[in-house]
Symmetry: C2
Subunit: 236 residues, 2 copies
Amino acid sequence: MRRLLLISNSTLHGGVYLDHCKDQIKNFLTGKVKTVLFVPYALQDRDGYADMAKKAFNEMGYELESIHKQESPPEAVRNAEAIFVGGGNTFRLLKTLYDEKVVEEIRKRVLQDGVPYIGSSAGTNVATASINTTNDMPIVNPPTFKALGLVSFNINPHYLDPDPNSKHMGETREARIKQFHEYDDSPPVLGLREGCMLLVEDNKATLHGRTDARLFERNKEPKEFSPGADLSFLLS
Amino acid sequence: MRRLLLISNSTLHGGVYLDHCKDQIKNFLTGKVKTVLFVPYALQDRDGYADMAKKAFNEMGYELESIHKQESPPEAVRNAEAIFVGGGNTFRLLKTLYDEKVVEEIRKRVLQDGVPYIGSSAGTNVATASINTTNDMPIVNPPTFKALGLVSFNINPHYLDPDPNSKHMGETREARIKQFHEYDDSPPVLGLREGCMLLVEDNKATLHGRTDARLFERNKEPKEFSPGADLSFLLS
Ligand SMILES: [Ca+2]
Ligand SMILES: [Ca+2]
């Protein structure tokens, strides 16, 4: 029984870390989970990051241990009751997951053993088919852009609508995703605006949170979905 | 004698393609150059892109041939009098330069034979040490992020100051570049705001255009430079 909570962003503007999704996290981590294994690899300051995550999870009623303080990261994954992968730089995160040899371990735990997986931002990107639709700067080069593959489509976290007042000539987010879809066999991309998240429970996917999501598919018009929407068709 | 004109962006808001840099391009391409070799690999629609570039260069008084219509791209580079690499997606551009086996050819022509190189946006990114500081989405994976290395530092084109009114929680451009500089041996990054460009003539580098540039170096405070500034120290 695959269980994923894929969050667009960890902090809303003016808000507190994980505050906008703490109800969903508590609902998601059912009574059995006592300790969450935290993966801080997306940021350089792992100690500081783990302290912040620990505080937020303690307040929700869970213990939190960071993988970077464990002797063997793969062993830590094998023993995890639940996994939370935090945001930061997606390239650094994916490279470190490969370097630490936990990609296959996380896949197995989540897909075979049903260990709940929470991802935020970069942690959501790496849960999908690939990191081809991250917004991050490629500051390091992972061995491949192929990610954990816990779902077969891609997500664009922090999805941003075009700003009609902008004079900046960089591509809009939609234009970037459309360039991805110029390639054959490119999977759907779910654009999660800040404030929304996707709950996956086995073959059921539902949009949660307070903002809408925008779905992009190759050779199709984008579609909008509101919280509560059933997106299970993406899982087939 | 190395000669490079590295432009932040090809079109200013509300403007015409290459209009804001056409004086610099004409000054840069001295009397000897009749035909410019265009590299349209950063966009999918190469024919349309070449038509647009041809129109702009014809109006400046130059012929333009696109590399994608030549039988042998490396041979086309070997015969080029000047090279213009257009913008689009940096990952697609660099991957195609490697696929078409023109990376070493362009390096040789520019660094050994003194063939003038004009880059815009992605075409500027690939001229530098690496594409680690592109803004683009990693829609395809080049064999390496190492680029043409026509200069030993990095550039961030379309450099963007933080928007004080934004409620979006994605990293600012400056925060992204600072993450790059968390790594040892990461080279300087010159943030070229839209409207400015860097002219390199052998060991002399000068800022041109109408906007300022912001220089980021590992473990240093960022510095601002205005058009006319001598940035030759970056070349040593
Ligand atoms: Ca990020
Ligand atoms: Ca671009």
